[in-house]
């Protein structure tokens, strides 16, 4: 589903190269965890997948369902089924959360040639998704993410993911800022989305989240490259021994 080939990318503003020859393949139905120390390029990779303009791909390619997405803008990638759950979701004053959800869902439907959702059906879907994440509907009456706690923002991201039903989910440090109860709720939300035709990429610093979202593959990112891949035992190994060992082997 996702194939990243020899990807090189830099920050547009100052030319700093962050991703330096990254290779990664994630198949449909797979949950892939990407781990790595701070500054290894994890968040940058998630932004590049979503199409943020602050980064520029200088070499290599990203194939999604066999097609390069490099020329697609963020909205086109999203309507094609790529979803990024942000590490730091933006607070957008003045944009009502419900209005935002409705526009996003209907824009995606429109792009797929489907009719816009009728209001009762839309409300029903939002209510169901919110209930499954223990979210209060009153929260959704507020402007988008404004005044949400860190945990509420993360839940709101997963809520959007459930409603938009993407094919490729990228979760950037979704565990940060969550207490253990919230972490379980969020992980349950993600687990219900596991399916044979959907791939999930979980980016995390710690192994903790992977106790709840058990990955099929684990990849260690360091200095903009995947330096080691393995199964879920690799995450446990990293937890026990830190990144130093893996980095040492690769160096």
């Amino acid at each position: 589903m996702l194939e990243i080939k020899n990807l090189h990318a830099r920050i547009v503003d100052d030319g700093t190269e962050i991703i330096r020859g990254l290779n990664l393949t994630v198949r449909a139905g797979e949950v892939a965890a990407i781990m790595g120390p701070n500054g290894s390029g994890k968040s940058t990779l998630s932004y590049i997948l979503a199409g943020r303009e602050d980064y520029e791909v200088t070499e290599g390619d990203i194939l999604y369902d066999g097609q390069s997405i490099l020329e697609m803008d963020p909205a086109e990638r999203a309507t094609a089924g790529i979803f990024l759950a942000f590490q730091y979701p933006m607070e957008i004053p003045g944009v009502a959360t419900m209005e935002f959800l409705k526009v996003a869902m209907n824009e995606q439907r429109k792009a797929r040639g489907e009719e816009p959702l009728k209001i009762p059906e839309f409300l029903k879907r939002v209510k169901e998704a919110a209930a499954s994440l223990n979210m209060d509907m009153a929260m959704l009456k507020r402007p988008l993410n404004v005044g949400f706690s860190g945990g509420e923002k993360k839940r709101a991201e997963i809520l959007q993911m459930k409603l938009l039903e993407p094919k490729l989910c990228v979760l950037d440090e979704t565990d940060s800022g969550l207490d253990i109860d919230a972490l379980k709720i969020v992980a349950d939300g993600v687990n219900t989305l596991r399916s044979p035709d959907r791939a999930i990429v979980v980016i995390t610093h710690y192994q903790r989240l992977l106790q709840y979202i058990v990955p099929d593959t684990v990849h260690v990112l360091y200095r903009g490259q995947v330096i080691k891949s393995g199964d879920k035992s690799l995450a446990l190994d990293l937890e026990a021994n830190g990144y130093a060992g893996v980095i040492g082997q690769a160096a």
Partner: protein, 422 residues
């Protein structure tokens, strides 16, 4: 008003002076009113204000007012649906008030044409300050409007919408409202029409002790009209005024806001949005006097500038020496969406008291790229996402009004503007 010598009159000045001679016999008013009219036209003969007059620095009226249309007695304006359903509507159609006045409990309404002849309102026609060109223009020509008296303790269930609708030519209208002690009301001032009109409109509001009023000015003139407006208010003890100004039209617009707190505990809130497009000029100028101790004011102005539009906000807050414990805050934020647009902001705080909290701030920004990315990352195309963010920038100010019917009504006006200018 304008003390420097003007060797040659502009076309507009000449047209105004000539029009006064022609209109004089038709203008209502007793002796005192007619004397005020004479004073006013003398002020206009002295010349329209130029950029050399500080309060007109960014709106050189003498240069910008290039022509003045004739009065058009044949023009017919039609009443329009109020912004909030079921409001009581008082229309002024092409400068003429309705002969049929509504019956609203606790509210006495008179036509201004009648008030002008009964000797009671001549003092209200005096200019404020030395450069009151709009006041002078209006006093010289005002022929009609309404005088509304809301009784002490009355609480209006429905908004009262004062409509000033023009269909070309010149209209000069005055809307005077007295709100009695403890009374509560929502008043909508609607300014709209069609054609290349010259409109002067002066609103006067007096709030009695403990009165609470939300006053919404919704200005949607066509981009061929010149709209010169003034809103003047006196705030009595413990009274509360929320003034909302929305400018969404007009070729040359100046909206002056002149507010004075005259009683302790008075509270003034100004919220404004200026939606500027095309080759237009819009000026909001506020003069706020904190004249007594323990009064508060906040002003937030949000501007969206597109095309070659030019906008101005001047906010002057005078805190008089005796006005201790004044709390005043002012902010002006502009979203500049084109390279050819411009916005000028001039905050002026003149503080003579030593125990006050006063502040101001101004920003000019473009659309936040991280916000745009976030919306697009959810599949919302760039144009729609930009539209959402621009609307959000101004909608935030509307939502603060905290009254569902009003918020929805104003958001509909906002959507209308985006539909035609998005």
């Amino acid at each position: 008003m304008n003390m420097h010598t003007t060797p040659q009159r502009t076309l507009a000045e000449t047209a105004l002076i000539d029009a006064f001679g022609e209109r004089l016999s038709l203008l209502p008013g007793d002796g005192a009113v007619m004397l005020k009219r004479d004073d006013a036209i003398e002020a206009i003969k002295g010349g329209l204000p130029t950029r050399r007059i500080e309060s007109w620095h960014y709106t050189d009226l003498r240069r910008l007012l290039t022509s003045v249309p004739d009065f058009d007695p044949a023009a017919v304006a039609k009443a329009i649906a109020p912004i909030v359903e079921d409001s009581s509507v008082l229309p002024v159609l092409n400068g003429v008030s309705s002969a049929k006045l509504p019956d609203i409990e606790g509210v006495a309404v008179q036509r201004l044409s009648e008030k002008l002849t009964d000797g009671s309102i001549a003092p209200g026609l005096d200019p404020y300050g030395t450069d009151d060109a709009i006041g002078a223009l209006n006093t010289a020509f005002v022929a009609d409007g309404y005088f509304v008296d809301i009784a002490d303790g009355a609480e209006l269930e429905k908004p009262l919408e004062l409509q000033n609708l023009q269909a070309g030519g010149q209209t000069h209208v005055r809307l005077a409202v007295r709100v009695g002690a403890g009374a509560k009301a929502v008043i909508v001032e609607r300014q709209a029409g069609e054609g290349a009109a010259l409109v002067s409109s002066v609103s006067q509001l007096v709030l009695g002790e403990g009165a609470e009023v939300t006053w919404l000015i919704v200005q949607e003139q066509p981009d061929t009209a010149t709209h010169l407006a003034q809103f003047k208010a006196h705030l009595g003890k413990n009274s509360k005024l929320t003034l909302f100004v929305m400018n969404a039209g007009g070729k040359l617009v100046r909206q002056e806001v002149v507010v004075r707190t005259t009683g302790e505990g008075a509270d003034f809130t100004l919220r404004g949005i200026n939606l500027l497009a095309g080759d237009t000029h819009t000026d909001v100028t506020m003069v706020l006097d904190h004249g007594v101790p323990h009064t508060a004011s906040t002003e937030v102005i949000r501007n969206v500038v597109t095309g070659k539009a030019r906008g101005v906000f001047q906010g002057r807050i005078n805190v008089h020496q005796y006005a201790q414990k004044t709390n005043a805050k002012m902010a002006c934020n502009t979203l500049l969406l084109s390279d050819d647009g411009e916005f000028s902001t001039k905050p002026e705080l003149e503080i003579f008291a030593d125990d006050v909290v006063c502040g101001h701030g101004a920003t000019v920004t473009e659309i936040d790229h991280s916000h745009l990315f976030y919306l697009m990352a959810r599949g919302i195309d760039e144009k729609t996402a930009r539209g959402l963010l621009v609307k959000a920038f101004v909608a935030e100010v509307i939502e603060e009004l905290d009254d569902e019917a009003i918020v929805e009504a104003l958001e509909r006006r906002l959507d209308d503007w985006f539909l035609t200018h998005g």
